[in-house]
């Protein structure tokens, strides 16, 4: 089959070089311009027809739709997709830098754009968090800083943005869409253009959410619960549409994940050989595909109660608890969309870093899929205080069973490291810290799920502590780990290990100083989502706030690290971590075509066999030489 000569060619340099010039950003500028024009044109026309003003719900609704359309059309989707779809001229082929600045079917460009935009969203949502902590420096509502109304808007925007434009996509999209085809040994995903579109849906939703105070903001936090949603500012329209847009974007990715994994694996890659990270992505994708629809209808019905005058959740005949059921039907499983890919990153990194096979690999996969099975049936644990006790025992028991499959994943991680010699670099350090944080987050989750405890803890800072441990403490730690780990793959350079580790400790210390006090505050009776608190809680709040400022400022370190390492970091060796998975068998930085034309990888052995003298898992073959898939 494969000759030695052929084996050397897999890494062949097929990069098409082109250098950046400013004209390349034209599509982005055009999209922005058309987006704003679209918004105002649609909003004004609606307002004129209906005799309303720009702050009324209907003009905002149509304005958003107009703006979204304008932005997407400005992105180059016409030349790149729609025109050819209608039988017009063929789309231009973009192999150089320009594909990063316009609609492009290249999964690597899409993923890179996700990373950059995630950083931007994280920055702005993080600034909102800082604003919240400034407000909480004093127990009264500090009028020089922001009013209580503004405080409510701020935590709502912070929460929605962190969840749906940061945590939900940092690993799934930024790392996942990049690695999905590479780890499976193909050049692109199954629907590259849909994946391209998924990114272009994100920025307008984010901009709309941050601008929502201009049309009155929203007071509901990230829940959008009726009837407050219908009574507290037109900004809720932007909340609902942004949430729906971001969900759509996630679902477009989810379909690609499942489809690519099921139909497009390299020859020889049986499901048993599919890397664990892909299994993690797959678990998240199943959750999104199955559970997003009901929540989607919930958001639409919530908005229609405001705009169209229906009464699903409001008025004498409405059922507000129905919204909670629909909302949490996805948004509880959504937490696993965040965290299962992060778990999978741990396993991928730990196995390579300790040069050991994944311990209990099949159990770990069963764990990931097991969480998927129970996921949707536990949502009521978010509103025990709002339903009849008949539902308590069922949802309490189901929630607590989630610990079992989660335990499999943990055991797999621990067993992989156990007795091995773990090489600790910045990425591995962040993974270990993320595991410790998740232990705290997961264990406090069990308290939440325990009805007698939750009736006390619900809507206190305890819950806020819980979910920051699981999301900031777990997903964001793991995000940084993934960025560092695959940085050499994407850029061909190494990050600065010293500053990576330095920041990991900084992050870990100030993260815990900021958020561990939340548990104490919660038990001591501090409500969440209220701008004022009892004066005896001021010292602990001040400690937390000051820690949070240091925590926030600390993110400048990885930002600088990533930027400078990208520009002039140390050149990376071919396979810096001695990992075996397929992405490291191709050239870095990944060339446009990933691997040379006429060749394809064949998987001949499992990827996590690090034993002495084990065969290389990948062999190169001429395309079409083997049996067809």
């Amino acid at each position: 089959m494969a000759t030695a000569e052929l084996q050397a060619q897999g890494r062949g340099d097929v990069a098409e070089k082109s250098s950046f010039h400013i004209g390349m950003v034209f599509p982005m500028v055009r999209a922005t311009l058309w987006g704003f024009i679209g918004y105002y044109a649609a909003a004004w026309i609606t307002a004129a027809i209906m005799g309303q003003v720009l702050f009324d719900p209907a003009p905002v609704l149509f304005g958003y739709l107009g703006g979204l359309t304008g932005w997407v059309m400005g992105s180059g989707i016409w030349e790149g997709w729609i025109r050819r779809g209608f039988g017009g001229a063929e789309a231009p082929v973009l192999t150089g830098v320009d594909r990063y600045f316009r609609f492009s079917p290249d999964s690597k460009a899409t993923a890179t754009r996700y990373v950059v935009f995630n950083i931007i969203s994280f920055f702005f949502a993080g600034m909102a968090a800082m604003a919240i902590r400034v407000e909480l420096l004093t127990p009264d509502s500090t009028s020089w800083w922001m009013s209580e109304i503004h405080y409510n808007m701020t935590f709502g925007i912070h929460g929605l943005m962190m969840l749906l434009s940061v945590v939900s996509s940092v690993i799934v999209a930024g790392a996942g869409y990049y690695l999905l085809p590479l780890m499976l040994g193909v050049r692109n995903v199954v629907f590259p253009k849909l994946l391209g579109l998924s990114w272009w849906l994100v920025p307008p939703a984010v901009v709309a959410t941050f601008m929502s105070p201009l049309v009155g903001g929203f007071q509901t936090g990230w829940w959008g619960y009726p009837p407050l949603a219908q009574n507290s500012g037109t900004g809720i329209i932007l909340y609902g549409l942004a949430a729906a847009t971001l969900l759509t974007s996630s679902v477009l990715g989810a379909i690609n994940i499942i489809g690519t994994m099921v139909y497009m694996r390299a020859r020889g890659m049986s499901l048993g050989r599919v890397p664990i990270f892909i299994w993690g992505l797959c678990a998240a994708a199943i959750l999104l595909t199955i559970y997003a629809p009901a929540t989607y209808t919930g958001v639409m019905m919530d908005m229609s109660d405001l705009v169209l005058g229906t009464h699903f959740y409001t008025g004498a005949t409405g059922h507000p608890v129905g919204y909670m059921d629909q909302f949490w039907w996805l948004f509880h499983p959504e937490v696993y969309v965040f965290v299962l890919p992060a778990f999978a990153v741990w396993l991928e990194i730990l196995s390579a870093a300790s040069s050991r096979p994944l311990f209990g690999r099949n159990w770990a996969i069963a764990g990931l899929l097991g969480v998927v099975l129970v996921a949707a049936f536990v949502g009521v644990h978010h509103y025990f205080t709002a339903v009849s006790p008949a539902r308590f025992p069922i949802f309490m028991t189901l929630t607590e069973t989630v610990s079992v499959p989660t335990g499999f994943v943990y055991l797999s991680a621990l067993g992989t490291m156990w007795g091995g010699r773990l090489r600790i670099n910045a990425a591995v350090l962040l993974v270990l810290m993320g595991m410790i944080n998740f232990l705290v987050g997961g264990l406090t989750g069990i308290f939440n799920a325990d009805v007698p405890a939750d009736l006390q803890l619900h809507n206190t800072y305890w819950v806020v502590g819980h979910f920051h441990y699981t999301m900031l403490g777990t997903v964001i730690f793991t995000w940084l780990a993934a960025l560092y780990w695959w940085f050499p793959k994407v850029t061909g350079r190494m990050i600065n290990e010293f500053w990576g580790k330095f920041h990991a400790w900084w992050f870990f210390i100030f993260f815990n100083c900021t958020f561990f006090p939340f548990f104490i505050m919660g038990i001591e009776g501090m409500n969440r989502r209220v701008a004022v608190y009892m004066p005896y809680l001021q010292p602990i709040n001040d400690f937390s706030s000051i820690s949070s400022f240091l925590l926030g400022a600390g993110f400048l370190i990885p930002l600088a690290n990533l930027f400078f390492s990208w520009r002039n970091g140390k050149k990376a060796p071919e396979n810096p971590w001695r990992a075996k998975t397929l992405e490291w068998h191709t050239a870095s930085p990944t060339p446009y075509k990933v691997f040379p034309e006429g060749m394809e990888p064949v998987v001949v052995h499992r990827f996590d066999d690090y034993s002495e003298g084990s065969p290389d898992p990948v062999a190169w073959d001429k395309t079409g030489a083997g049996e067809s898939r």
């Binding site: 729609i82 050819r84 779809g85 209608f86 039988g87 017009g88 063929e90 789309a91 231009p92 082929v93 192999t95 079917p105 290249d106 193909v186 050049r187 692109n188 995903v189 199954v190 629907f191 590259p192 679902v251 989810a254 379909i255 690609n256 499942i258 489809g259 690519t260 099921v262 139909y263 497009m264 595909t289 199955i290 997003a292 629809p293 009901a294 989607y296 209808t297 639409m300 019905m301 229609s304 169209l308 005058g309 229906t310 009464h311 699903f312 008025g315 005949t317 059922h319 129905g322 629909q326 446009y592 075509k593 034309e597 898939r629």
Partner: protein, 187 residues
Amino acid sequence: MATQSNEYSSLMDPASERAKRGAFVFFMLFNFILFAAFLMERWMYGGYGHAPAALNTGLGAGMLVIVLLSIVLTVMTRKRLDAGDDTGATGNLALLMLAPILLIVGTVYSWTELPIGSPFGGVFDLNGIWFVLQFALTALAILASFLKGKRAPERAKRERWVVYNVTSYWLMLAVLWVGFFLDYYVA
């Protein structure tokens, strides 16, 4: 390199026809569940009783006939595709496009019948809005396939999965609309 292209089943869009059609099922699954949720919500939010008398069953029955005819037409179109008769299939698409357009007109007309603030009227209308949206997008997709078949037949031949997926999607919507009819007009 001379062989670069942005076409389907090209180097950088390597999914096979089987993959394109198979993966599309997951896309349909999402939308199917979405409509299924609406069909259930008719009972959760629309009350347990029969449809209100004001509902125009004649209009519904007329739309049902269109839907059923369109199902027959879609099945015929796919038969032609299977037989390799792409020109014939393209011809069918022009006719098929009428179905979503007529259904949009019918649905929009039906909105005038029930007060949207009533429990049944609300969920009926909202479900209808969602259908209209999907009908409109599918009509565009059918138009696209039709025009591609006419203007760039060679390319259309290489991308036959597109027509398959578009017609699959239409079949799904049509079946769902039959469900809608049973759920809202009959039950």
